[in-house]
Symmetry: C2
Subunit: 408 residues, 2 copies
């Protein structure tokens, strides 16, 4: 007998029929002798419906009341799923975040879980009752409803799995696992059986948005075995493991991630003195704009060149900010472009294997793809290229590292 936490996202519970299908799956799991906690999102579209009501009333609705409002979405799903389970003869009981003892800090709309009091949930599980928990929500010290931010149901599931010392946290979604790259770009992309947390983090942050990053971090930190599966098809999905040894059969490279929504800004001829990077990026951060890659090259003559990338929608605002700062700093020139894309090769294997970078650059060169920027981490090499080469670049690298379905 295992204790399993299963999380079903908004698409998986988007209609009454789908909720009934989830009930069937949960029922089978329980009948196989497992203890099951089910974490559910709001039915797809519901959170947006509620938020649009709020926005009709106020351009900036008060955060406390947004949480009171949107947390109802998940609560509705828990009740409907318990009813569907009862129809199958499976005892089940719904829990709000508050009822399940999920304590958070006071940050409405983006609260962090501080503690989980699992007593009530454990009691139900031990009596053979399925626990159905509203994801994405908790309660602060004052007894107010809080939410964990969008996609926070993944975090609820992982946190509950950690608190209950569950054997596995299964994230059911509309894809059947983590792929070597986006199958819409490379048709023979292969589903991975296993991937490490670190790789998953690099893949997720680079655009393969299967799981919320915070959930993966949390799972890694508390050593929760995490599995991504499809709620619509059968299959083992992808297991995300802490242990690199588990991933020993894996290829050198796990996948090719990419991000199309990038724009780059270059400041040339900046005085090469301490504090320059802060002065440029501080102004950008003050405008609440997230910076992705940052590259600075060694240069002569006491001046340096400084390049960074941001999300494309922030490009115009960033250009304006940086032009102002550059003038103050006496920089020679500011330039930029928004028709770029980032491609990354990700794999824990590259820690112990040399030559991955040169293999990557050679493959791109063979296809006449010019590299605009390079940035590396321990388990990832990212390049920025002209956006028009994105698909070609991803396919080329997917082939180069033998990631295709029929190559294994």
């Amino acid at each position: 007998m295992s204790l399993l936490v299963q999380k079903y996202g908004g698409t998986s519970v988007g209609t009454v029929e789908r909720i009934q299908a989830v009930a069937e799956r949960v029922y089978k799991t329980a009948r196989d002798g497992h203890q099951v906690v089910v974490v559910v999102s709001a039915m797809s579209g519901e959170t947006n419906r509620l938020l649009s009501l709020a926005n009709e009333i106020s351009a900036r609705p008060i955060p406390r009341e947004i949480d009171v409002l949107v947390s109802t979405g998940e609560q509705v799903t828990t009740a409907l799923l318990c009813m569907a389970l009862a129809e199958l003869g499976q005892e089940a009981r719904s829990y709000t975040g508050s009822q399940a003892g999920i304590k958070t800090d006071d940050s409405h709309n983006k609260a962090r879980i501080t503690n989980i009091d699992t007593e009530a949930v454990m009691k139900d599980l031990q009596s053979g009752c399925v626990v159905v928990l509203a994801g994405f929500q908790g309660v602060n010290e004052a007894g107010e409803v809080t939410t964990l931010g969008r996609g926070g149901s993944d975090t609820s599931a992982v946190a509950m799995a950690a608190a209950l010392k569950a054997d596995e946290c299964q994230i059911y979604t509309d894809v059947d696992g983590v792929y070597t790259t986006d199958p819409r770009v490379v048709s023979d992309a292969r589903k991975l059986d296993r991937i490490t947390f670190e790789e998953m983090l690099e893949m997720a942050s680079l655009g393969s948005k299967v799981l919320q990053i915070r959930a993966v971090e949390f799972a890694g930190k508390y050593n929760v075995a995490l599995r991504v599966l499809s709620s619509f098809t059968e299959g083992e999905g992808t297991l995300i493991t802490l242990d690199e040894e588990d991933a020993v059969e894996q290829a050198l490279i796990s996948g090719i991630a990419f991000n199309r929504d990038e724009a780059q800004i270059t400041v040339r001829g900046v005085p090469d003195t301490p504090g320059i990077a802060f002065q440029i990026l501080g102004a950008v951060a003050d405008a609440n704009i997230e910076v992705d890659m940052i590259v600075q090259n060694i240069s002569g003559d006491n001046v340096t060149d400084f390049t960074f990338t941001v999300n494309r929608i922030d490009y115009d605002r960033v250009s304006e900010i940086v032009n102002t700062v550059a003038k103050e700093l006496g920089a020679a020139d500011v330039s930029g472009r928004s028709d770029i894309a980032k491609i990354s090769v990700v794999g824990v294997g590259m820690r112990s294997h040399a030559g991955i970078a040169s293999k990557m650059f050679q493959a791109l060169a063979k296809e006449q793809i010019n590299i605009l920027m390079i940035s590396t981490s321990e388990i990832k090499i990212s390049v920025v290229v002209d956006e028009k080469y994105l698909e070609l670049g991803v396919r080329t690298l997917h082939d180069e590292f033998d990631l295709a379905q029929n190559s294994q």
Copy 2:
């Protein structure tokens, strides 16, 4: 400075615009220096939407989960109203039933309030914050969400007003007060400025469904001054008072109530022995059918005739049940009809005035309206007539007792 509880029903908060209009009214009340607790229902249509989701899943959804499901409707309204109040610069804070300390028994879907812990609400009120409470809901000992049954938001408002010792509990609805009779039947029906609780109970149970009966009973029991007003127009509405002295200027008769949905069953020639009424009505009660009027006449020869009325939709089922019982009892005959209606004259004044009944019967006779049944209480005289005479009967009595607008 007064402490006011204002309750707004589903129609009054049915759209974002209406919620904004409610916010304006609450804001004005608060700005006039009053402490305000607002009790809200779900936006009109929302409870039905949620229940139909449940019914798609189960013919008999589990009661505990129905409460979890439908209680979200009121919660949504509280959040939206607080946002609208914030837009006007009025501090406000939403409360679920649980957060407001509304403790109930365990009867899901029809829970009764056992206790209210007003500490949190009082603290907010004293700091000048408007409290916005989700009506219709509470929490049981085990911390589970319960609901008070449909229309229970009135009960929430009255109970909260009693617990807070509020100066007045104002029920905002889509009518501007309690009328001498239904204005759709008698065009010059008059709005009453005052009515006693007892009269209101008789009026409400007889079809003038302005307020939930339980709420009126509760208000009477705890001496809460209750006022019915319109959320769409200005006006003083109708004050419902405990004190008969308050109603001293009132006419003898307060109003003419009626109910079209009646059906009658007569059992003739029943042996006139103790326990007969129980044997007939016990079988009806076992089928969970509510009986309205009951009339039994003195008769000779050790047999008696026994007539009662039920809601018309139960007529076929009741006929079947009573036919079976009548056979067992050796009754002579069972008959019935479903094309009848009840008309009642209501007024505390009749306690101290003779001749009301004969005046009523004479007026009906003048119009050739035959009376099928008569039943009386201390402050009410009801007659059952052929349904086709309903409107004529109501208009006749409304005139007879000088209730019209221009007659005062």
